[in-house]
């Protein structure tokens, strides 16, 4: 392992608490910008600037590459807080700010290249939907089309996947391309999370040196080149389970944001039928509010507890010098915990959506936005609770399990 020159973070004394405070301060502005963000179909430039300025993209970035390297619990709290203001903006932030973990699988050399001189790096990725990598003098020529590239507008690089031409069995690889080497095609038009701008990324015949390409994590027992490249065991934890903490954090934030608005509705809107009192005066609405708060509290407690379990597993792996099995039982249980956390948030938001008044169903309303964000999130291929449940059951019974 070669030592690389350290990059100083812009604010060396910045703490996790201060990052959280900054995230909290952004919430009202982010909520105001929700309709514009959804209409623009991407994170607004002013929001991106605010994230940059607050140092939020560097939340989970290793210190020596110019980041703040906060703990996983803090990462979850900070990402939740931003998502509370705007689920779409929080989504893009979490899915880029969480990716230093992904990058840590590449060699020091590759990581140093990506973080560059100042540590300004945002690398959205698409681990599936492989393109083609053709081996060519010490590297590869890569082409591919990858959908759902959350954060591509703010990206400095992109992580794509490809099958190596001629490999048998087919070898799935992940690769890092520079911003100049990919095009963005706007094909993002889902019913929710519109503001994430999770568009298509296209590469045609991009020449990549060997060190930009690694075997896809979880498809082979070989150790990734970046294994233990950071002294912090967090980066030795399972990759997929880390990525789903991002989604869990967004779900909690989206639900808290919906609860915020619901409280305002109950305090200001009267029933439109007898007895015409404020909704907040009515037992049934009070009940819904309490239920929603309870569900999200439970979800958050579970996710934070999951973060501790994640770190324990990562520390064991780091100390034993034995990577985490991304398809193993322990990892699946974490995934199931994350999925259930999202389910609880979804349930809370659904309660609020159906009782917050029909105005919630009008375009751009924050309650409707939260509901649709959770709904679209739950169509994610990695969030299929039924499938993961079955797979966990199979593992527990000593049988082979399928993907996620």
């Amino acid at each position: 392992m070669t030592a690389t020159t350290a990059i100083a973070p812009p604010e060396p004394d910045l703490t996790a608490d201060e990052l959280l405070r900054r995230a909290r301060a952004l919430v009202p502005t982010l909520r105001e910008r929700q309709p514009a963000t959804e209409a623009a179909g991407r994170v607004l430039d002013e929001t991106h600037e605010a994230f940059l300025e607050a140092g939020l993209y560097r939340t989970l970035q290793p210190k020596r590459f110019g980041g703040y390297e906060v703990g996983l619990r803090d990462f979850i709290r900070i990402m939740s807080e931003v998502s509370r203001g705007c689920p779409s903006s929080g989504w893009v932030l979490a899915l880029t700010a969480g990716h230093p973990h992904l990058l840590s699988h590449w060699s020091e050399q590759a990581q140093a290249e990506i973080y560059g001189a100042d540590g300004d790096a945002r690398v959205p990725g698409r681990p599936v939907q492989p393109g083609l990598a053709v081996p060519a003098d010490g590297g590869y020529v890569v082409s591919g089309t990858w959908d759902y590239a959350s954060g591509c507008d703010q990206a400095t690089h992109f992580m794509g996947s490809a099958i190596v031409q001629g490999s048998d069995p087919p070898r799935l690889v992940w690769l890092l391309v520079d911003r100049a080497d990919f095009e963005i095609v706007d094909n993002w038009d889902p019913v929710g999370l519109r503001g994430t701008g999770s568009k298509r990324v296209v590469c045609a015949d991009v020449r990549l040196p060997e060190h930009r390409v690694i075997t896809a994590v979880g498809t082979s027992p070989e150790r990734p080149p970046g294994w233990r490249s950071h002294a912090n065991p967090l980066y030795a934890g399972g990759l997929f389970s880390l990525l789903f903490f991002e989604l869990g954090a967004i779900a909690i934030g989206a639900a808290r944001g919906a609860i915020d608005v619901f409280e305002e509705v109950l305090a200001t809107k009267a029933l439109d039928i007898p007895p015409f009192v404020l909704r907040g005066e009515v037992d049934e609405y009070q009940h819904h509010l309490g239920q929603a708060i309870g569900l999200v509290d439970l979800a958050e407690a579970a996710l934070l507890e999951g973060a501790d379990r994640y770190l324990e597993q990562a520390t064991r792996a780091y100390e034993a010098d034995e990577p985490v099995d991304d398809n193993g039982e322990e990892t699946r249980r974490l995934l199931l915990l994350q999925q259930n956390c999202i389910r609880l948030c979804d349930e809370a938001v659904e309660r609020i959506f159906r009782t917050g008044g029909t105005s919630s169903a009008r375009r751009g309303h924050p309650i409707g936005n939260a509901m649709l964000a959770l709904t679209v999130m739950r169509t994610h291929m990695g969030l299929q609770l039924d499938r993961t449940s079955t797979n966990l059951g199979r593992l527990r019974l000593g049988k082979e399990a399928g993907f996620v």
């Binding site: 599936v128 009782t355 029909t358 009008r362 709904t375």
Partner: protein
Amino acid sequence: MSTATDLVAAADGLRERLLEEQAATEERTRYSEELHETFRELGYYRMLQPRRYGGLETDVTTFYRVIMSISRGCPSTGWMLCLGSGHALQVGSYWPEEAQEELFGDGHFIASASFAAKDALARPVDGGYRVSGTWNFCSGVPYATHHIGLAPLPDDGGVLVVAVPRKDFTVLDDWGDLIGLKGSGSHSVVVEDAFIPAHHAITFEQFAGFDVDTTPGYELHGNALYGGAFVPFAMGELNSVQVGNAQAAVDEFERIITARRTWTPSVGEGTSRAENKDYQRCLGLGLAYTDAAYSIVERCGDLYLEHARQAMEDGIPIDEERGFRIYGQLMTAHKLCWEAGDTVFRAASTSGARDGARMQRLFRDLCAFRTNGIHQLDFKATSIAQARLGLPVDFYTQA
């Protein structure tokens, strides 16, 4: 075209056409004039109209079955047809003979109706009322001959239900910004100082009350169909659309999993999703939930007539508890419909959430009614219990 089976079979026969026209219907904010003509020829606007005015006096359950079938092709169309044609039952039940004679007129009668009024007022004048106001959510109004609106009398003098003829109202171009049911023709209606003869208005109590032993419609038509409590009927209408909507989502899910294959990093493209148990489970749940909801709606259609018959013929009035317990069943059906739609939407992959995807539209349509303030089982549950316990009902008393 007259038997119950024929009416339902004809609706089933329109399925493909309705599916194809979904996007255009949404864009237009109402179903097409061609489809309107087809419905007219099939007698769909006359199903609940009294025979003496050219109607079919179809039983409520058959009416629901037709609406469930149409909605399975297009929820917006089902909603608009249902609410446009269903109010014939209201007029046929509670309006006096003279008014029915005039309102049903030549036999072509379509009426929107709405509770949601802004600045509505019925000012008593000689022989009737001068009525003004704006009513929102007037589903069915694009091809309506009449609009039925709630209008308060001055000085807290009670609330009237007035039937306003087409010549006396204008329709605003303000429908389509709700998340779903964009093609349901639920535009707003504006009435400006129209004269409504006294017999074209009834009181809110005459229309919403349970405790009656006869109605003008029962006396006139001798059919218990016109002696029921209208609000439970209307709840059944809305839920018929929900059932069709959820069935459509399940149909679409079946199409998707049959057409698509699984994909995993290690294996690449795998087997048909239809052969995968996780997808099978979702389809099975979707079918079970929608089958159960369908049965509930049918049963509530039967109960409508059963309760009406007992009230009209055996002197056992429809009390609050019986009415509320119909709501409870229908709201349970609604929960099942939502559960079915949510289950298949999630499992249909993110491509089903995209603009233009039929799955997305069907999900949005389900969302649109999900926010209905009075149609929430957990709200209604306490009212059901209060009615059961003989306590005063303190919340959502009427609906």
